[in-house]
């Protein structure tokens, strides 16, 4: 089957630009190796700039004091957590439809990053909630759906971990991820209805005052930094997955020999 996909790739090359050149693990592996340090460096740089703006340049909030500064980590992490699930489901779905091996590997490489981002968002949210709301946890619609998102990530990873055959793990994970993607908006809205029904939290995130420009800038820079971090770690992880799954192929044997 591997030979077939490779052959299909070559046929395509003759007729047009080969968009799929890097869809093979073998060609993607060195590309990922080349890209990882760049994304990693960008992540360090952007996060350093973002944190500097966040902690030293941005003004103290009139209502929340300095406690608000955790949003420079919290908000980007929350954005990434949701976005990464969609990206993960996209790759998983692509793997299911086109039967490409790398797509499934990408999906399983993204999942831990997504789970970490979700966890950071929840954790920083709790740390921020204590001084601001006076409680670690509120059954707010966003908090609750974020928590369920974390469970969905865990479910995805647990399912993949339980299946020994990587191809089956990819496909089963894909079905689960796609089911989750359909469910996420339903979960979000039902949690919101539930929240309004139960007379929700007295403090709403929606009534936050408009942000100062420097705050927004700091947050956006941090968000970019988190993007870069997630891309770098995903590439790093996908390289490991490629090596592990392709360990019986010649090129990996050759690669390992050169490494020694």
């Amino acid at each position: 089957m591997r030979a077939e996909t490779a052959a299909a790739g070559h046929n395509l090359k003759r007729t047009q630009i080969n968009w799929f050149k890097y869809s093979s693990p073998q060609t993607f592996f060195p590309l990922a190796a080349k890209l990882t340090p760049w994304f990693g460096a960008a992540a360090v740089l952007l996060c350093a700039i973002g944190l500097y703006i966040g902690f030293f340049v941005a003004p103290t909030d009139a209502q929340q004091g300095d406690a608000y500064r955790i949003i420079f980590i919290h908000v980007p992490a929350a954005w990434m957590s949701m976005f990464l699930y969609v990206v993960m489901a996209f790759w998983a779905g692509a793997g299911l439809v086109f039967n490409t091996r790398l797509s499934g590997m990408m999906a399983s490489a993204i999942a831990p990053s997504g789970a970490i981002m979700t966890f950071i968002a929840l954790w920083t949210g709790a740390v921020w909630g204590k001084p601001t709301w006076g409680t670690w946890w509120v059954w707010d619609a966003r908090l609750t759906s974020e928590l369920i998102l974390l469970f969905l990530y865990f479910g995805f990873m647990a399912l993949q971990a339980a299946i020994d055959d990587p191809r089956r793990a990819d496909k089963a994970g894909a079905v689960l991820a796609l089911t989750g993607v359909v469910n996420i908006p339903i979960i979000y809205f039902s949690v919101q209805w539930w929240n309004t029904l139960h007379q929700g939290a007295s403090v709403s995130l929606k009534s936050a005052p408009t942000m100062a420009a420097t705050m927004l800038l700091g947050m956006l820079v941090m968000a970019l930094g988190f993007w870069m971090y997630c891309i770098a770690t995903t590439l790093l992880r996908v390289r490991r997955i490629i090596l592990e799954r392709e360990r019986r192929s010649d090129w990996v044997a050759q690669y390992v020999r050169t490494m020694k």
Binding site: I148, A158, A162, R168, T179, G180, I186, S190, W194, L197
Partner: protein, 222 residues
Amino acid sequence: MLTALRCVIHRDLLLAMRRRADVLTALLFFVIVVSLFPLGLGNEPNLLRTIAPGVIWVAALLASMLSLTRMFSEDHADGTLEQMLLGSTPLGVIVVAKVAAHWLVSGLPLVLIAPVLALQFDLHQSLLWTLTLSLLLGTPVLSLIGAIGAALTLGLRGGGILLSLLVLPLYVPVLIIGAGTVDIESAGLSAQGHFLVQGAFLVIAATFSPWAIAAALRISAE
């Protein structure tokens, strides 16, 4: 196709009737879990009345999940599932029949016994119908979503616990709206909107999950 549908339902019901203990276990589990809550929380009637819908719904959710692992595992073990995958009947139809049989065996009894348990919680009598109807609309969705998880974890080690990890987060909307139906009615508002949403869940789940279940079965039985 309809013959196949009826045939599979009939077969699964017959198998369930031959092993009545399995069916009764899930039902007993439901009754026991619900009865444990007053023991843990105290017998203050107002408190019990408030928690009744939630407790019954959560217990129903867990009880219907308990029997999920059996949905495909025996057919998988004795090779019936392989024949079903190879046969000319669309897998979606067979899957719908299996889910329907699962609901008849493990969902419907819960729906029927729930009002009795609700009486133990001193739930107002006018709410009993609301509770029953909400469970009637909600439990098939649980079976449909649960079947996806059951198909995905077919033949895996630690399948049962893994199944709960996969399925429970997906049950959240059903639980929220289902228990909310009773809550809103007890607050004196019309529960019609909630019933409509539950109906919508059922339609969506019935439309899409057979595909997902069939796909998952093909993956698991490869």
